[in-house]
Symmetry: C2
């Protein structure tokens, strides 16, 4: 069913070399010959075999991206931004979600690496050793939202300063007994956010916040918050590592009969859609997720083509979005762009 270059050559009465030349425009071909070839191509519905091409050219014309999950808008947006630029640059995009599976990840990633010219790694999907190994094997790598590794391109969003700003805002509005919900140990972003919050609270003379481990979803946020808000000395604010946790905490507060933000303030991260629609609206930090993905694709491409020899570590700015869930402003709501 799939025609080969030989059949095209036969039908056009030329050699396969000429067919290749016509198709790739790599060398001059007589107009009439050219016509005949194109006709034959059309006639047979010929499409070059990509594996054969990759083998001969020594490149895949494809890049890969590895992420933990696609639920929640965060990774979906990053992947989308990545795909859009990669396509524009002529690369196909292979995706790999590490999802639940932990044991098979190394194999899956290594397999992926054998199919692409370069790899974007989101978060802590792959451990440091493996990243180094893949890079050493000759596959260019760009990490995103992960502690930068020496010798490897890295992209992050600003965390520390936003967290400080957020914490300062809370303290300014009377919330001094806050805790942090999120998994500081397994996420670079969360760690940085917690550090920033810590610093601000220390500077302002507030009690040191507790760090409460919590997976990044609504349900775990709800459960963790239910626990925390039941304490005798319950916190007056919860700074959450992402919006899902915060919205889960909102449910917990409601269930406990607590008013937000009067009894407890709540903040998230990412500015997902639900953060705008919840009542009260959720104070959060917006990240340029699409741009993060797009930039990763660019940086990777520069590396694959070799047009940028030096390693780049970049940090993209974020923006604090104050809404009603953290008190202070009565209805500050949107300062939309």
């Amino acid at each position: 069913m799939a025609a080969t270059i030989y059949q095209v050559a036969d039908l056009a009465g030329v050699s396969i070399a000429t067919v290749s030349r016509v198709l790739r425009g790599t060398a001059p071909v007589a107009v009439q010959t050219r016509q005949r070839v194109l006709l034959a191509v059309d006639e047979l519905g010929y499409r070059p075999s990509q594996p054969a091409r990759s083998l001969a050219e020594g490149r895949h014309a494809a890049n890969g991206i590895v992420f933990p999950d696609l639920s929640g808008p965060y990774y979906a947006e990053v992947v989308l931004g990545y795909e859009s630029v990669a396509a524009e640059l002529g690369s196909s995009v292979l995706i790999l979600s590490t999802h639940g599976r932990t044991k098979e990840i190394p194999d899956l990633v290594v397999d992926l690496a054998s199919r692409v010219d370069g790899l974007v790694l989101l978060g802590r999907t792959v451990d440091d050793g493996l990243v180094a190994e893949i890079a050493a094997d000759g596959t260019p790598v760009v990490t995103v939202a992960r502690a930068p590794l020496p010798g490897i391109d890295a992209l992050c969003t600003e965390n520390r300063a936003s967290a400080r700003a957020l914490a300062t805002h809370l303290v300014d509005h009377g919330y001094c007994n806050a805790h942090f919900l999120g998994d500081v140990d397994s996420s670079f972003d969360a760690h940085e956010r917690w550090q920033g919050m810590n610093e601000a609270f220390a500077d302002l003379g507030c009690p040191l916040p507790l760090q409460v481990p919590c997976p990044y979803d609504e349900e775990h946020g709800r459960m963790a918050a239910t626990e925390l808000l039941g304490w005798a000395n319950r916190p007056d604010a919860l700074v959450c590592a992402n919006d899902e946790i915060a919205l889960g905490a909102l449910l917990a507060a409601e269930a406990a009969g607590l008013r937000v933000p009067d009894d407890v303030a709540l903040t998230g991260w990412d500015d997902v859609m639900a953060a705008r629609y919840s009542r009260p609206g959720l104070t959060t930090v917006r990240q340029p997720m699409r741009r993060l993905g797009a930039l990763a694709a660019r940086r990777l491409h520069e590396r694959v083509t070799g047009e940028r020899p030096d390693v780049a570590h970049e940090v993209l700015p974020t923006r604090l979005v104050i809404r009603a869930s953290c008190g202070g402003h009565p209805e500050p709501d949107e300062q939309e762009e």
Copy 2:
């Protein structure tokens, strides 16, 4: 940097055939030989070249999925479900978002087809002619959320009955002058939903709903609703093709000083996270998006392997989720599973 099978064979003192056999377990190899080979593999950090393998095997061990966009949870969830099963079945996953670009789509899709064993097509990303052409070229295709094409596997979610149920519920609660927001012409799902609503309204003796074209995002929903709600004879309910449109309409209603659901009822589709958090909560129809993607991967795999010769057209069930935005129940809210 990348070792070949020849180097491994040399180092192990065997032929490349033996190396291949050891690696693929395709034929018995003496234990010692096997050891020597594995040692050499490890020593050299050898990874088989995927293009070479594909070329020799005549298959890609990869599937592709084409979707319009990844913003909004709908497609992201479908893709996630797809990826998870595809990975499990040993296929890499290539993604292609048609995004804004319309002109280049045919080329991009054809290129994609040359890199995969099979293709899943979401919505109307590719027109009928091209789908037929690709399938005719020998690439198995499964369509999702699209009018089933003859001879091609198709997966859909139930639309008509849910729309009837939704419409009936509205009428039961006194809303009879409703309109439909969504693009009936460019989306199979929207068309079906509108038809279902139409039928129910006709059966119940209500005036025929208008169909108002509207892109599937918040902002367009807001604008369209602003217009509609400004009419002298304004509708008392808006049935929206998805939640984003409906939530945009909610903003429009608020801005117009209208109370939901007292002055106007609102319903969406998909049950995105924000639909649960908005006030009032949004009545909507939940779809099994993850399962849709997962099933598409299964069906595609069956086709690629040839283990299912007959064409399958399947319809997955949906569930009506009644919340406060459509009146009736004071706070029916969750009937969570």
